[in-house]
Symmetry: none
Subunit: 199 residues, 2 copies
Amino acid sequence: MALNSQKPALDPAYLEKLQDYYAEHKVIPSYSVLASLWGISAKSWVSECVKRFEEAGYLDWTPDKQLKPGGRFFERRLADSTVQAGLPNPAISEGYDLITIDDFLVRVPSKTSLVRVKGDSMVDAGIHEGDLLVVEQQPNANVGDIVVAIVDNEFTVKYLEREKTQFVLRPANKAYPVIRPRGRLEIFGVMAGLVRRTR
Amino acid sequence: MALNSQKPALDPAYLEKLQDYYAEHKVIPSYSVLASLWGISAKSWVSECVKRFEEAGYLDWTPDKQLKPGGRFFERRLADSTVQAGLPNPAISEGYDLITIDDFLVRVPSKTSLVRVKGDSMVDAGIHEGDLLVVEQQPNANVGDIVVAIVDNEFTVKYLEREKTQFVLRPANKAYPVIRPRGRLEIFGVMAGLVRRTR
DNA sequence: TTGACAACCGAACAGTCGTTCTGTAGCTTG
DNA sequence: CAAGCTACAGAACGACTGTTCGGTTGTCAA
């Protein structure tokens, strides 16, 4: 009747079951598996529900027309860091739920590697000895980036800066000197993240 | 001839392409898509390669016989800090181990959660605003641990210390005061690690 | 030079996929 | 109480899936 197009309902319980399945298997199942997962006995109805989730942004299709998680698939209800009495909901206090930490840190697996930090020359940037640096391998970087460079056949983590025409490596610790490489500066990659384990 | 059963070769480039595809689409493609992804024109050969990756632990099957990422699928290379000369292609060069970031940080998934750090009261411990803290939930901790406590209905990250008979929360930043909670100190969990994403 | 093996191609095939279409039970709405 | 809607069920179907099996090519050792 009304002018506004009213959207069809979509069952949040269905989405949750699918998210749980995905969390366990890291894959979207076929329609017939979805049917039994949702307690539905007609694939046609599964198809209809999928279409709704797709329109709502929870599901999507690959270029190869395979069903995949959509942009909102990993959304969580935003649990503020303020805690309601007793325990907060123990889920991730984040706009998005991380299926894996790995996914949070790594964008291009084939170009990403981990480098263990040696020394304390970057402590003022919150990078401590023993930390694992998530590095995206690429031969050049921008001024201001934290880069992993190769100096004297060893990895060095430093800020990339420019002095006149020359690139230099600046530590984040006054106790260390700026490194001014003679010749070409060889860059292994750019810092994309950091992982630390304590205990 | 030899006694040891020698495994068939499996192409690391294939795995990388699949991992990149998965990172983009969050789904394992079909054999025919895999074929074009790998530059292979026979599905039968894809099937063979998949079997090998499966035996090596990089791929697996759901109970519904759908292909899914295996346990080792999310492994990352941990590069050695000493570099052998040149290193034109660090992918092929040796000198790295493989670990998965999630396994590295999370020991007991059911008791582990992530908490986003607010404020700079722990900068001197290398914990910055915006970092994700890996927290193992438990109601008590040892003196010296970095704990996530609940004070005034909010999460607080601090060192746990003792003053005479009382437990106190000490920040790692001189600009902030020691917190002396009146009554019971409510501990949410103990810091087990840290994750930071830059860029 | 023969044979064994590994790396691939290509065709054939039964099973499964997702779509479409028709049907029906239950609930509103007027 | 008929009209209209939503939430499903069920069958039919062509497209596509992954497997099997029988090639072909290249390499290397005997």
